[in-house]
């Protein structure tokens, strides 16, 4: 690390402001002050880690996130019961798959982990902790004898239910940063009634195709789908199951748009998951074409700020690296090695156009930040 570190320090030295560090959520997490100092949580560990990084005198260095990882292990030893979360699950309704809203509380740390699942786990856990504290805060104001039961139930509901329930509870800064709203429009093909339902998301999972762009994948996410045969839709106007058309479009655009490329797909013919290394290009700037008619500020401009890259040939092995844009520079984080890379080099992470090569380093989760 020594040689690399000094090289990086040289490269970023004059361009980086003193005491600046390259982490996304850092400021929010650093600003976090737990109500009760006594209890260690995943969030306090993360805050300590970020605090530790921020207080380093050197601009470049390595810190092992031991406490955070240990806490993660501990939480999951306790939380993980018999049910295992498969790497990817097709939703039963056959629609677009979004784990973002559902809480993944099972997280086996002896298995090769999925970065997308981890992101969801982390965001949901932090949100739950913050919501729990908010409830406790309210509790303090009230009389403890009457409110304890109701508050307990609200904590658990925030943790276990998905979708719109976040709106009912107090939004946290996790929601402030990542949450957007999808409008799910369903049109009954019998009576033509359109019913729409809003649901929140922390990221969007999109299907990938060969030689396409993320823009096209997002259009595909919002394309119209016909519900028929066993997937028929119960129309409340017709009071019966009917064929229907359904589409999901973005109504509220999040501050940070996290896009998960569904590169791990269950292949029927092989009876196992395979990695799709398709070339999916993603620009440095993005606007959404798949917004609903009533979306506010639907032409919001996004800038690419980070990409989680999966390196390897399949879902059960491989390695993750991350590229992050910081102060106008692109930095590549590969375990304890950090390098400055040229913006043009990101092309290498779009994926492969031929199927001959098995292993790829391809963009897996994209983070776009709204400008202004």
């Amino acid at each position: 690390m020594g040689a690399t570190a000094s090289q990086l320090e040289k490269e970023i030295g004059h361009e980086f402001p003193q005491n600046e560090h390259y982490f996304g959520l850092v400021n929010r997490v650093l600003g976090y002050k737990p109500l009760s100092k006594r209890k260690e949580s995943l969030l306090t560990c993360l805050a300590d880690l970020f605090g530790n990084i921020a207080s380093q005198k050197k601009k470049v260095g390595v810190l092992a996130p031991k406490k955070f990882v240990a806490r993660l292990r501990k939480e999951n030893d306790i939380a993980c019961d018999t049910q295992m979360m498969p790497k990817s699950v097709k939703s039963p309704d056959g629609g677009n798959w979004r784990t973002s809203c559902s809480k993944t509380n099972c997280f086996d740390n002896y298995m090769q982990q999925d970065a997308h699942e981890f992101l969801n786990y982390l965001l949901n856990t932090i949100a739950d902790l913050l919501q729990g504290e908010k409830v406790k805060e309210k509790e303090k104001d009230k009389h403890s004898s009457t409110s304890s039961v109701s508050s307990k139930s609200s904590v658990s509901s925030a943790g276990t239910t998905n979708g719109g329930s976040h709106q009912k509870t107090d939004p946290t800064w996790v929601h402030d940063i990542f949450e957007g709203i999808l409008t799910n429009e369903t049109r009954c093909l019998c009576c033509e009634t359109v019913s729409s339902k809003d649901e929140s998301f922390l990221d969007l999972s999109v299907d990938v195709e060969q030689n396409t762009s993320i823009t096209h994948c997002l259009k595909g996410f919002s394309s119209t789908e016909t519900l028929c045969s066993e997937h028929k839709y119960f129309c409340e106007t017709c009071c019966s199951k009917q064929e229907a058309q359904k589409r999901m479009r973005v109504k509220k655009l999040p501050k940070i748009l996290a896009l998960h490329l569904k590169r791990f797909k269950y292949m029927e013919q092989w009876q196992r998951y395979a990695k799709l290394s398709y070339r999916v290009v993603f620009p440095f700037e993005l606007r959404l074409f798949n917004t609903s008619d009533d979306a506010i500020n639907h032409e919001k401009l996004y800038d690419l700020v980070a990409v989680v890259i999966h390196c390897g040939s399949g879902p059960n092995r491989g390695h993750y690296i991350t590229i992050v844009k910081s102060h106008g520079l692109w930095l590549l984080f590969d375990d304890d090695i950090v390098e400055k890379i040229e913006a043009q080099a990101i092309e290498e992470f779009y994926g492969l156009t031929s199927e001959i090569q098995k292993s790829s380093e391809s963009g897996y989760i994209l983070f776009y930040e709204a400008r202004g």
């Binding site: 762009s213 032409e299 156009t353």
Partner: protein, 517 residues
């Protein structure tokens, strides 16, 4: 036509139909490396194609040059007439250490026994090659003291035998004179001109040397540039997402446009110099009116980044029954341009019909053809009509499937007499260059970071007409990298290194036996 359905199917199309007839892929007219090498290199540079027509005694007087991987090939191009003979390249070059990225023939100095081919390289160098005499005449930026980054685009400056322009990934563009020496040491510059988002420096050296001058444009790579048909203007497509149009001689910025989002990859002019089409990382083709300095239409169809845009001068009609000549190719015979089949016979109603045809190819492996007609160029609706009403009205959906919910604020200023412009001449009407010489869009460019949609620089989606492709076909396995409209064919290249020829409707095709029918 069976192939006219299923635009994005996985099957590669062999033919497609338009209103003028059926275009067919010529299986025997595929140009590539003489020996097939398995395609594996991911980071190889796009395959580009340059054509030149020379006057000689033989029947075939077209030549083709293309780069693939580290190699550059130069063949006789037999087009739709005869099968390609890949065993006999006229010249072949293999480069080590640096890779060819683009090339251009000098059209003023060409002859049957000498050609000047400029070649740009991945490490910034430029070579002047005579592929007929097999001689390397000169090297420019050999020591990489001018610019170390990849050459993105290079062209001979129209009308000059000696000057050429080289654009780099660094965002710099250099004018060279082929007669000037390289000079000693890194070049020194003196500022000449500065404007919003660009600056121009001249070479400061006391002795004549290259480069003659340096343009710095925007932020990031200059992906492509194109000279206007009258040679007076230059349009640049930048990675920063801006299209910039300059008066080349006075070096003043006279128009700016911002992509909907992402970098602009390619740019071209309409044969009459009135419109510029760009393609980019927003998967869109964007039509910008040079006359009005504004976006008039966006084309939605590509499912990945657009790689090349080009007008088809042979199917573009600008005045009553008239066809446009291509300014570069003086040999074009007018009688060969009229379509031999199809439904485009000129009826009285068509007399004042203006229709531009352009094509685009992209990383999605698709070819798209687009028609730009009067419905988009000259909206008939009264001014000030609300956008919402317009989009709801079915009457504005035209026969070419162009959803015309478009421009309501401007009437085309030259309406009436404007659509009777004579076939393309080298003298552009003065009004072209004088309509607001420094428009508001240029002033806005000072605030480059603030590109809110809804400005003249970058209108909202609902503020411009939306075009749909009249043809959208998957034509290759790999990303497409080149597109060229020729008199009797369309030529396309893909990343794998195959250059394919599609015969126009009714044009003689190469038969499987190899004989000409």
């Amino acid at each position: 036509m069976a192939s006219s359905r299923g635009a994005t199917g996985q099957e590669i199309k062999q033919h497609f139909a338009t209103k003028e007839g059926c275009y067919r892929l010529l299986d025997l007219s595929v140009y590539s490396r003489p020996t097939k090498i398995p395609y594996s290199v991911q980071q190889c540079h796009p395959v580009r194609v340059s054509f030149v027509t020379v006057k000689d005694q033989g029947g075939c007087n077209d030549r083709i040059a293309f780069n693939v991987g580290r190699e550059l090939y130069f063949y006789i191009y037999k087009g739709v007439r005869k099968a390609a003979d890949l065993t006999k390249p006229l010249d072949k070059r293999l480069y080590k250490g640096t890779i060819p990225t683009c090339h251009d023939f000098n059209l003023l100095t060409r002859s049957s026994d000498s050609l000047e081919l400029l070649i740009g390289f991945s490490a910034g160098q430029v070579q002047l090659l005579d592929p007929v005499r097999h001689e390397v005449n000169k090297l420019f930026n050999e020591e990489r003291l001018v610019d170390k980054t990849k050459v993105m685009c290079l062209k001979w400056i129209p009308g000059s035998e000696n000057l050429f322009l080289v654009a780099h990934e660094s965002g710099h563009m250099f004018v060279y004179n082929k007669e000037h020496p390289a000079g000693v040491g890194p070049p020194q510059y003196a500022p000449m001109k500065q404007g919003p988002g660009y600056s121009i420096h001249s070479g400061k050296s006391k002795t004549t040397r290259n480069p003659v001058c340096k343009w710095t444009i925007g932020e990031g790579s200059i992906n492509e540039f194109a000279f206007s048909p009258d040679c007076k203007h230059i349009a640049t497509a930048n990675q920063d997402g801006f299209l910039r149009v300059f008066d080349f001689d006075s070096q003043t910025l006279c128009g700016v446009m911002k992509s909907y989002f992402g970098g602009l990859t390619c740019v071209c002019w309409s044969p009459d110099g009135k419109y510029i089409v760009t393609g980019g990382e927003d998967d869109l083709v964007t039509v910008w009116s040079f006359l009005e300095r504004r976006v008039i239409a966006r084309g939605i169809g590509h499912t990945s980044w657009v790689q090349v845009v080009a007008f088809d001068p042979y199917t573009t009609s600008i005045s009553a029954g008239g066809r446009v000549d291509d300014s570069d190719e003086e040999e074009i015979e007018q009688n060969g341009i009229a379509p031999s089949s199809g439904s485009s016979s000129v009826t009285p109603d068509d007399k004042n019909l203006t229709s531009y045809r352009f094509g685009s190819v992209g990383q999605d492996t698709n070819l798209m053809l687009w028609d730009l007609g009067d419905d988009v160029l000259k909206p008939q609706r009264p001014r000030g009509r609300s956008m919402r009403n317009a989009t709801l009205s079915n009457s504005h959906v035209t026969s070419t499937n162009c959803l015309s919910n478009g421009p309501v604020t401007h009437e085309v200023s030259h309406s009436g007499s404007g659509n009777a412009v004579a076939p393309m001449s080298f003298d552009t009407p003065k009004s072209l260059t004088q309509v607001h010489s420094l428009s508001k869009s240029v002033e806005n460019l000072v605030n480059i970071g603030n590109v809110a949609p809804g400005t003249a620089l970058c209108p909202k989606m609902e503020e411009v007409s939306i075009l749909e492709p009249l043809v959208a076909k998957k034509v290759a396995n790999e990303r497409l990298t080149a597109l060229s409209f020729r008199e009797d064919c369309i030529v396309m290249a893909c990343h794998e290194g195959f250059i394919r020829t599609w015969a126009r409707p009714g044009k003689v095709g190469v038969q499987p036996t190899g004989t000409v029918v």
